[in-house]
Symmetry: C2
Subunit: 298 residues, 2 copies
Amino acid sequence: MLRAAVAAALLATAAPAIAAPPGPARSMTQILDASPPGDWRALDPENTLYIQLPKGRVIIELGPRFAPNHVANIKRLVRQGYFDGLAVVRVQDDYVVQWADPDGKRSVGAAPRTLKAEFERGFDRDLPFTALPDPDTYAPRVGFTDGFPAARDPATGQAWLAHCYGMVGAGRDNGADSGGGTELYAVIGQAPRQLDRNVTLVGRVVQGIELLSAMPRGTGALGFYETPAERIPIVSMKLAADLTPVQRVDLEALRTETPSFAALLQNRRFRQDEWYKVPAGRIDVCNVPLPVRERRSK
Amino acid sequence: MLRAAVAAALLATAAPAIAAPPGPARSMTQILDASPPGDWRALDPENTLYIQLPKGRVIIELGPRFAPNHVANIKRLVRQGYFDGLAVVRVQDDYVVQWADPDGKRSVGAAPRTLKAEFERGFDRDLPFTALPDPDTYAPRVGFTDGFPAARDPATGQAWLAHCYGMVGAGRDNGADSGGGTELYAVIGQAPRQLDRNVTLVGRVVQGIELLSAMPRGTGALGFYETPAERIPIVSMKLAADLTPVQRVDLEALRTETPSFAALLQNRRFRQDEWYKVPAGRIDVCNVPLPVRERRSK
């Protein structure tokens, strides 16, 4: 209890303090192990992307509720084999890894190269939003929708995905409507939240982010690789739905509107293991773990 | 002007809006190029650490104002050659790179292995602090001291360094006073601000962070390498003051209490280049660039 008292005192000069959890501390592992099966949802194979890299596989969950047209177009491109044999062309430290067609010669077939921007969407009752009480630098409200970090503004009625570590977006040129999913990037550094509402986010890396984040940084401007030899091949990009069960790993994500997730949030705000001396009492939307694991029940 | 109006409207529901800069947009490069020489300070060779890795050199500026005893002890250890031949033992994705004595057999000579914690210090008039008006999730006040991201609490009169990307700290065990600088870590992911005031920060990587952040992630618990073969050698750690001028690169840092730095902050809050459509109007203390460059005037 001493720790909670200390935290409350330290927070007194800022926003209202968040109450510390009562009772004995549980670890994050204990919270997840105790969570009922219904607190988890299976990832939809139709919205799960597998990127095969030379060193392993990256898995991305797509977010069609925020970027329906971009997600549909990426799936179209994936199914045409558009991405197979393309490459990681840019790795900028503390920022993004980007993959694209380095030569700009790959056909997109009937898929559009550009789409109207999907930077934000209307916030309505159908959109789940687990709000964080913690203050945020960039947005009036932050929280989680379908397991994605998100933000919203009651004044405009708009909601959008937040640029946290591991989030995946569709690169664009200067025009707002100049992106379409033919170039993708993943965040590998401090959350570049200034990008929120400036570029269409399409999903989140749920497995294998370390294959992207540990890539050698490009030495050109903006972290672009300066020679073709430096580029890292995208061996293939496939939808989980198009793979056989043997090729697939069935993943499930903790639902962000459940008591288990609420317990996890409190656990991360008020770290009670022996190592911590002063629990923060707050958490940034981009510091919240969003657990994804192999499915236990099918 | 449209952009500023949009930003002001969007921020209306949160904390008070920060006024957009008047006049034509300047790029960050233009701001830095126009800065007078007096807005820069030479890094003190007595507080500049060079870490030689197999692939290149990492340079760290030490922060003796916040952690005088830890910094003094690290310098003592460096001068004894304590770190030469040690290794990076842990690379945890989106968190830290840590280097230490893997076998725990290296002598520290007369240097203490542990020191009293230096998690925070008294805030007084002698401590420069360029406060940010932007709201912060974790601390009542955030800003910059001597070019380091920092925080303070008017209620307690204490100030501390903030765990932003590139910050360097002294690892410890469960006891608050169990660290002493024999194990060091650098942040390579989303700012783990929950560590603030829980561990002694000793400095910041000012050059070569990409040599640390692109290291292969460890596959053991907490990102520890599982086999000795995976470890990456620390070839040597030296103070710039102990090198010949030829071995040294003279660096200078933008002073964080200058008009040039204030202009840079506004530039990053209100991105006015053509690419941005909705300027954030705010900035997180860990998203502020802290420019360091080779000295132009000696």
